[in-house]
């Protein structure tokens, strides 16, 4: 009897509890929603702030203002024809010219696979292999001349690639690494800083793969497009 009458109380409590639970749930949902809306509002405000700041930055750095600064302080001028380099060959030529001691006609020759085969020890003398001195001017032509050993005149691009990997000025190596062999036109704007940066990047790349640099068969590997290197560039 008592159990039966309690049963209804339990029912009441149960249903009440369930109802309360449902209501709490709905409250919870509402609270979460409100929070979400708040976050979204903050995002919108942040975006608006970004837009405002971008606008302000753009207005303060408007082209007429830049031009005024340039005429007053920086005095930069547009690049002239001589500052553009058509190919890595011209680039190598440019390097020798900037090195005052070298004769004007310092030769740039195609190197053959043999250059690499004779290999690591002599190469170390090259400035390119000395990481701590990025701008050290090499005392001899950077392009090692080994044209006598050229096996086939039909593949200059290939041999150039191998040369640049091993001995050529780092900037050349870098320029080469990103482009597949062939008659590509690597047009680059070169000043001293760019050249230095390119050189450093090239050396860093080389340090990453020291093992590969020692193997002679690398010469053929270097001739094929190397997707991993290309990706890095």
């Amino acid at each position: 009897m008592i159990a039966r009458s309690f049963k209804s109380v339990v029912w009441v409590a149960g249903i009440g509890g369930a109802a309360l639970g449902c209501y709490m749930l709905s409250l919870q949902v509402a609270a979460e929603r409100a929070e979400l809306a708040g976050v979204e509002q903050r995002i919108v405000r942040a975006r608006q702030a970004i837009r405002d700041l971008q606008t302000e930055l753009g207005t303060r750095g408007r082209l007429s203002q830049l031009e005024q600064w340039n005429s007053e302080v920086l005095a930069l001028s547009s690049p002239v024809a001589g500052q553009f380099v058509e190919s890595e060959l011209v680039l190598a030529r440019l390097e020798t010219r900037s090195n005052g001691e070298l004769a004007e006609g310092a030769p740039v020759r195609m190197a053959s696979a043999e250059t690499v085969a004779t290999a690591p020890a002599p190469q170390v003398r090259n400035a390119a292999a000395a990481p701590p001195a990025p701008s050290a001017a090499p005392q001899r032509p950077q392009v090692r001349t080994a044209s006598a050993a050229a096996p086939s005149p039909a593949v200059p691009a290939v041999r150039r690639a191998s040369l640049s990997e091993a001995t050529a000025p780092p900037a050349v190596a870098r320029a080469r690494a990103g482009t597949p062999p062939g008659p590509t036109r690597a047009v680059s704007l070169l000043d001293e800083r760019t050249a230095r940066e390119l050189g450093e990047a090239s050396r860093a790349e080389r340090r990453r793969a020291p093992a590969a640099a020692a193997r002679p068969e690398r010469t053929t590997a270097a001739t094929a497009p190397r997707p991993d290197r290309a990706a890095k560039d």
Partner: protein
Amino acid sequence: MATLAARSEPFGAALERPQPLAITYQRLMVMLLIFAGVTFLIVARLMFLQVFTDRAPGGAAANPLLPARGDIVDRNGVPLARTIDAWTVGLRPGDIIGDPAEVAARLAALMPERSEAQYRAMIASGRTFIYLRRRALPELVEAANAIGEPGIVFSREPERLYPQTALAGHVLGWTDMEGHGVAGMERVLEERLLDPARRGEPVALSIDSRVQAAMESELASSVTAMSAEGGTGIVLDVRTGEIVAMASAPTFNPNDAGAANPAALYNRATMGVYELGSAFKPITIAAAMEAGVVTSPAQRWDAASPIQIGRFQIGDDHPLGRAITVPELLVHSSNIATAHVSDAMGAERMQQAFRNLGFDEPAHIELAERARPIWPDDWGRARVLTSGFGHGVAITPLHLASAYAALVNGGTWRPATLLRVAPGQAAPGRRVYSEATSFRMRQYLRMIVTHGTGRRAEAAGFRVGGKTGTAEKVSASGGYSRRVNVSTFAAAFPMDEPRYVVVVMMDAPRGNEETHFLTTAAWTAAPVVSRVIARAGPLLGIIPDAARDIDTSELIPLVAAAEH
């Protein structure tokens, strides 16, 4: 929940005192209904939440990131016009509670554009609302707020801002206080910029702001140096008809267009109609080649003696006194020989040549600010002869730029556009010249720069080709004035594979020491072209290369006597 608790008590009491079964059932029924009702309410609430609040919050209509008016950007995405929320300071005279004199004094100190007395009058005016300052700086708003007067109100209103200030002002135009485009592209794109569905996406113009800046600064410095009345410069992509830069000096700031000098609002590139002089000669020669009148570069045209037509006399500045070849005609810019070519063409064919290039219609461009060329009604012999070297037909510099694009791009005329053209979407245009004619004209234009009157337009490595044009300006009294010129240089580069046409026109330049007090195009407009190309060329992806050039060797012997 309180209801439930209250109801449960008599239920408990019912156990102590047995009641008739009917009452128990009745009470049970009431309880059942209450429970059912509460459960229904909760379920209904849950469903309401589910159905009505689970939609994407906000919705497009209330998207706060959607600007009131769309942005305008240049071809690389640099913003040229934006809508920002600017502070506005206003005054509600009725809400002023402090001493009006003191408030007026403090306002005058903050915003000195009006006097203290004016502010006092405003407070006393009894109007409900007066704008004190639109587009106020936050510092000013803070300072005005510090007055602590409820009658001074602040709000944020959308305002049009041109971050690059005067850059491309004539192209962009401006908006009125209500945010409607009044001029320029703001007016052309009015619907597009206000359309809620599309205004979230910025509109890309064909302008390259860097090239525009280079053109404007070079033009402005030359206009100032030569005390010219004005000037204009256009850079046009010959393959698509896109206008990469269009400048007109003097310039104005569209942020405050109302304060600008009315003369500065005038866009000379599309509204100015000028007789452009010798810059027409390549057009005449190309048309004569198409018509079979000029059959070979070696063909000789008489330039020996001036031509007398009625009371006019057509003569040359530097008479050659002999028959000259076609390259010589262009290199020396001989009026006499050109007049003979025009004469051989005849009125009908000359008119058709100009009509093909749209010289009888307003310039083909989106802008509403464009003028109709002065197209003569009578085409007598004198008109035909003079039109060959650019007199009698007055066109806008934009017409000339489009015509030169057709001359060098292989012979296809395209309407100019200020909207960025997606790759491969260029207007088909219409063929005006054959490929062969176009190639020959490229050689001629290059030779004018290497051997002729256009030497000062050369920019090392950019293979510039072009033609000078110095016309005498029609004075107010109606006659031509010999000292007041319209000096034009129309160029294209690089000539071995033309990509861009550059037209620079100086309106009434006065010579200075640098130009040896000459006002001809070779001394005024050509150097501007050279500097603009040197600055803008690399930005446009043209790498200067001294080792390349268009092959003109076959024509060089024909101008062997070109030493001057």
